[in-house]
Symmetry: D5
Subunit: 131 residues, 10 copies
Amino acid sequence: MPKPELLETFTNPYVDREYEIHMDCNEFTSLCPLGGIETDAKELDALQGGAPDFGIIRITYVPAQVCVELKSLKLYLWSFRNDGIFYERAVNRILDDLVAAVSPRWMRVVGDFNLRGGIKSVITTTHGAKG
Amino acid sequence: MPKPELLETFTNPYVDREYEIHMDCNEFTSLCPLGGIETDAKELDALQGGAPDFGIIRITYVPAQVCVELKSLKLYLWSFRNDGIFYERAVNRILDDLVAAVSPRWMRVVGDFNLRGGIKSVITTTHGAKG
Amino acid sequence: MPKPELLETFTNPYVDREYEIHMDCNEFTSLCPLGGIETDAKELDALQGGAPDFGIIRITYVPAQVCVELKSLKLYLWSFRNDGIFYERAVNRILDDLVAAVSPRWMRVVGDFNLRGGIKSVITTTHGAKG
Amino acid sequence: MPKPELLETFTNPYVDREYEIHMDCNEFTSLCPLGGIETDAKELDALQGGAPDFGIIRITYVPAQVCVELKSLKLYLWSFRNDGIFYERAVNRILDDLVAAVSPRWMRVVGDFNLRGGIKSVITTTHGAKG
Amino acid sequence: MPKPELLETFTNPYVDREYEIHMDCNEFTSLCPLGGIETDAKELDALQGGAPDFGIIRITYVPAQVCVELKSLKLYLWSFRNDGIFYERAVNRILDDLVAAVSPRWMRVVGDFNLRGGIKSVITTTHGAKG
Amino acid sequence: MPKPELLETFTNPYVDREYEIHMDCNEFTSLCPLGGIETDAKELDALQGGAPDFGIIRITYVPAQVCVELKSLKLYLWSFRNDGIFYERAVNRILDDLVAAVSPRWMRVVGDFNLRGGIKSVITTTHGAKG
Amino acid sequence: MPKPELLETFTNPYVDREYEIHMDCNEFTSLCPLGGIETDAKELDALQGGAPDFGIIRITYVPAQVCVELKSLKLYLWSFRNDGIFYERAVNRILDDLVAAVSPRWMRVVGDFNLRGGIKSVITTTHGAKG
Amino acid sequence: MPKPELLETFTNPYVDREYEIHMDCNEFTSLCPLGGIETDAKELDALQGGAPDFGIIRITYVPAQVCVELKSLKLYLWSFRNDGIFYERAVNRILDDLVAAVSPRWMRVVGDFNLRGGIKSVITTTHGAKG
Amino acid sequence: MPKPELLETFTNPYVDREYEIHMDCNEFTSLCPLGGIETDAKELDALQGGAPDFGIIRITYVPAQVCVELKSLKLYLWSFRNDGIFYERAVNRILDDLVAAVSPRWMRVVGDFNLRGGIKSVITTTHGAKG
Amino acid sequence: MPKPELLETFTNPYVDREYEIHMDCNEFTSLCPLGGIETDAKELDALQGGAPDFGIIRITYVPAQVCVELKSLKLYLWSFRNDGIFYERAVNRILDDLVAAVSPRWMRVVGDFNLRGGIKSVITTTHGAKG
């Protein structure tokens, strides 16, 4: 299960200035709840769970009072490793968890997933309006 | 014949949020009804149909009530494999079929076709207005 | 001499929708009327004409009633092969000929020419206003 | 069915010199006889055949008496489009057919296939010894 | 635990010819038994196991009687997902398991792992002599 | 300690024109005050300070009366080499010091830091409004 | 000394249309009046002048009555070869000289200079407003 | 007609040393005598000759008494512009003409031709043995 | 001072097999004892030491009884951070220290240093003979 | 005039080991004695000398007793800036001057020159035998 309680924050050192923080998290992996576009029954049986998905999670935000602490973000993203979750749900869930943790002025989360069945998927979701 | 009946959908898990889904389908192939820019009569005879076209179909949309299911999208695009269809018609046809299937808030389909006769073609068509 | 009479068209299959067609024509070549930046008298004598120019012609347009047929476009561009013409004139001439042939809602022609004398030239010209 | 009878040759214009001809055929596609790494029963049913494979066929040879004619090579490779064949068999079959057609001094065929299930395959097979 | 019993083979269709099969498996992931170069105690506690490693496994071999079946190879590599194993051991273990399964004339396995602590590691191990 | 007193300026030679100066400083390095995402206690002990961070500092500004002198900028950035400072603080501090030194019409500082724990960070901060 | 008198023009062949001409001049070199960021006294003594600077001059303009002739532009840029001039002054000087020569509707000059002391500089200056 | 009489030479300034000269001639164009893989009768009629071929000619040699003069090489390659000639013949012809002109210790000519009908061709031919 | 005592090893898990370990250490930095190619007296004074050098250290070896532990290698390379050392000495010193620590069957160290004064340096040094 | 007297050396710190030093000097420029492939009489008149040539000089050597000092190498290469010299002569001259200065066990000099008249030239010359 994704564990938002792993997310930690620190006080924004320049709280009076609107500036932007971007992070590319290159090693996101989760499982697909239904096996996914490339998985059949035999494969699911072998793994006792869904087929692995891989992707990059790109997070951009304008901090308000706090910033997300990098090591805790890494641990939070690791907590998706053995859970079955659809792309659309994962990306929006990460946005929800991060917004709850850091209450940013604006935030965007992009899930840039690896090719499956000759198809590459990119999901983009946003909280608030920029500028 | 393109088979829009292959397209399946699932309920948008974050129906209240405007977010974007992008898919690059790298292995689109169809036939050209007239043989195409590089085909002469002998070639058509050999193949008993038009010359093959290859390209990438890039789909971007903002889902409303439902999202298109990835595996069904792959099958739908496979259904163009042995039909003769012009670039312009194929790209607009894919837009029409997907709009009918998922009624998106906004959708764009781009057909990015391989070099033919030293010419690369890219067709871009859109449904609705973004934002 | 450029031969606009080679250009053929076909009926736009989605005439009610504003969509965009882009073509990169990678093998454009013509001659320079004055020999060009890298040519001296001896070279001109050897060739009995101007020095060759090479470039990519990038055409983007929003079709109205008709689209330009790809093979005829290739032949039209081939007809510049042995004529002397300046970059600026060639690019605007192609725009004029294509606008006359297909009466587009909007069209842009870019001539992206090879390095000459350590200088790369790109000419961009447009007909009508987009959107 | 692959149609080696489509292959045509022309007399090697420099038969006394050992030189090398290389061709990258970028648009090879065939079907997988068992559906392949990404295909399940439902997909096969939809397509009434195996799942499509895509790849580049890279051919290198030292001609002896004849060379393979390019347009006929293109038609020959098109003839795999709707047949089910494994990677290993396809690449060795192409080598056998070309060796039969042109009796080269040496020939290598490489099948460089697209990613399937996160795995990219490249098969290399050779006839004769170089030099 | 790595599960070599998942590996399946099929009869080499061209057993009389020495040819080469190469596979890049882009989505290999395992855990590091000691937490690895970037992990401290708190992280291990959060994950209840070692820190994730990511990499590409590149396999090249000359088949003898049998070839490894692609889908089974994918499942075999998935079986490392939740086990703690060092780079050096993983790469040599994969070589041992594949050699046992397909008895190749020659085989090489390369583990090309992601940056850790500013250091990228590539391990190369070989069975038999080529040619 | 960062030494803003190292920054030197020279009179803007085209003070009446609004133009833009961009500098990519590719060799920025500092230390992380807490050891950073990849550092544990043993590492800190070895170095008697925080773990090294590396990145590119990208500075863009529209000069007013003075421009920053390049060699002095290099020395100023070197002065971060052995100080512990968080990414967010470093980037905003550089902006503050440069704004104090050159009073630009507009300035942006981007810190484009190397991968740490599989995560790449980019911080962007701005002074004034452009145009 | 830069020699603007070398610049020649020709009549804009499509004077009624607003179109854009872009030129990348890849082989610009000048000297730095003070020796520059990487030069010390001994080096200056050896060269009897400033240290060499290298860069790309990127010119974009919308012509009015005349266009700049390419070969004369090359000669004009060569005339900076042995003069000492700062980046900011060189880029604005080129803009001034070209504006004087061709009176464009709009013009932008970018000086994209090579790495010096680990720092890459790009200067952008503009005459008039576009569109 | 290719005009080998255009080739000029100059005395090798370091005749006692075995060193290598390589030249990439990026703008080679000729015509195909039969129209080529992408040409039909109508196209030929339009051009009153074969379809254009484009490619890069890569020449490498170890000079003996003389070197080929660069400007004359350019003119010689221009002389193929309006002649119909097959790839294999063109590349071997260039080798023959250059060997006749400069009597090198060793020479290799590579014709690296543009994609035609989805196929890229590279022809390599050599005179003498290296080292 | 470089601290070879930081280097730790672990028992080679496949001691009977000759295999290769390669590591790219992307964040090496040291100081130049004389200030280096880009430093003058004023700069040295500002830094109270030599100018910083940056580079990638590429290590390849065939282990015998032990392998170098990655985290300890990182700490060892960090220990060059504030010492003045020439490129040639640093690369050979790293080879000596690693050979002393792991007694490899073969080892190569490459120092791939950043551009200084328009010059990029790469130093390659080897211990023992491969294979 | 090239000034080999500018070259300075320092004692090879690891004289007993055969190791390799490689340097890419990215900013070499000289003049062409005859004006070069792209220059006509008017251009020569404007410059009062030959047309500028640009290229990269790549030097690789195995040092014996001494190494070439980097800053002195930079100054030596600057001394070609205003002299007219052919490519072949320049590259062999640099080899001769460096061999005289450092008496290496082996040395190679490559001159990798910019495109002129659509032709890129690379000259490679070597002193001694490697290994």
